[in-house]
């Protein structure tokens, strides 16, 4: 329910307009919140059904070790860091719809896959996404020209700094989790 509420709030035109008015808010607030909405909605789906499809072993056969799911999440997260995709998301309604749908799906799939993937899968996702964020952040900070036609250079630099900080925070946070992980969890569950 919380996920649906969050999604409804993010879809409201004034909220959407405000969050997409700057590249920084777009990349560092709206996109993470859409993932969070998907994550929360994913738990709603699994709790509302007694015999949850997402927890059943038949369903998990499609997502062995959570690997396909994490691969999809990495691709979706990477897509919405591409400057052209961000431009399209604010200029084309179809692209905007695609952004909302794919990020919510990514959030839900992340929840479905994260627990069953163990350290190797999580390391793949965290490594991939934080690396992408760090590279994108450095490029945005140093780019001599605007990479998005919809956003200003100063905004681009803030977004770059934010991406770098977020990448560092995510990387460190996961590393701490990994250090505390009991040995059996460090490998994927079937």
């Amino acid at each position: 329910m919380r996920g649906v509420l969050l999604l409804v709030m993010l879809v409201l035109p004034p909220v959407r307009g405000w969050l997409e008015a700057s590249m920084t808010a777009h990349m560092l607030i709206q996109i993470p919140l859409l993932l969070l909405a998907g994550w929360l909605a994913g738990s709603h789906v699994s709790r509302s059904r007694r015999s949850s499809w997402s927890r059943s072993s038949r369903a998990s056969a499609w997502n062995p070790g959570g690997a396909p799911g994490l691969l999809l999440v990495a691709a979706i997260a990477t897509t919405w860091m591409i400057p052209r995709a961000l431009d399209l998301a604010v200029t084309s309604p179809q692209a905007a719809l695609l952004k909302f749908v794919t990020l919510v799906i990514a959030g839900a799939v992340l929840r479905w896959s994260w627990g069953r993937s163990g350290a190797p899968g999580q390391a793949f996702l965290i490594g991939n996404v934080t690396w992408m964020m760090a590279v994108a952040g450095l490029l945005l900070r140093d780019a001599p020209v605007r990479v998005c036609t919809s956003y200003l250079t100063s905004d681009q630099r803030y977004a770059g700094t934010g991406l770098l900080l977020l990448a560092a925070a995510l990387g460190v946070r996961w590393f701490v989790v990994w250090l505390k992980m009991p040995a059996p969890l460090a490998v994927p569950t079937r």
Partner: protein
């Protein structure tokens, strides 16, 4: 019996895993290909340049006022001379950042055109999108400051905001307010054939390519 059915279930689950993996891979690659125009570009500007290079865009008729106050169609230079390729850029004269860079680049282009005797094959056109402010007087002042030669470099402002918007959209220029009373816009050198088709978009730092593309488009029309 039991052993076989367990084996079958295992096999089924392996196949499901492979299908799941391929589905995720296909969806991910498709999404990334969509965002990057088939893994070719990362920015809208680059995508726009590719689209134009593949399929030339006709420039719509938009009425503009030049620095002498004469009203004419955007691609006519007042003398009805349609035998020259045109290099087009967009500015507003109050601009204190990018437009002065563009001005410098246009000065370079003008020098190259004059020194190589290309005045009858290529001309320069600067379009202001500041409809309310850039009157003929202001354009004339800007032309004087820039040292624009009337036979090579003309400056115009669309007569209506709708006209300006049409041109910005056709050329793929996005103008955004920067909150300090100025505008920011993506800038490039747009090559238009004598027939009035946008055929190439060249980045600002590539003056030789812009000139070469303009000459090629002038020749191809002869």
């Amino acid at each position: 019996m039991i052993g076989r059915s367990t084996q079958e279930t295992r096999l089924g689950s392996v196949w499901r895993g492979i299908v799941g993996f391929m589905t995720a891979l296909t969806a991910g690659v498709t999404l990334l290909a969509w965002a990057t125009d088939g893994f070719a570009v990362l920015t809208s500007d680059a995508s726009r340049a590719r689209a134009v290079a593949r399929a030339p865009q006709p420039i719509p008729e938009v009425s503009v006022r030049d620095s002498r106050g004469v009203i004419h169609d955007v691609l006519l230079d007042g003398s009805n001379d349609q035998s020259r390729a045109v290099i087009v850029d967009f500015i507003f004269t109050r601009c204190i950042t990018l437009c002065s860079t563009l001005g410098g680049i246009y000065q370079q282009l003008q020098r190259a055109i004059v020194s190589q005797g290309l005045e009858d094959r290529v001309r320069l056109l600067t379009i202001s999108f500041d409809v309310a402010h850039d009157t003929p007087d202001r354009l004339a002042l800007h032309a004087r400051v820039m040292g624009a030669r009337p036979d090579v470099w003309s400056l115009v402002t669309p007569t209506t905001q709708a006209g300006a918007d049409t041109l910005l959209q056709t050329f793929g220029v996005q103008v955004i307010a920067d909150g300090a009373g100025q505008w920011t816009h993506n800038a490039a050198l747009h090559i238009v054939t004598p027939r009035g088709e946008l055929v190439r978009i060249v980045s600002l730092d590539d003056v030789p390519s812009a000139l070469a593309a303009a000459l090629a488009s002038a020749d191809s029309t002869l």
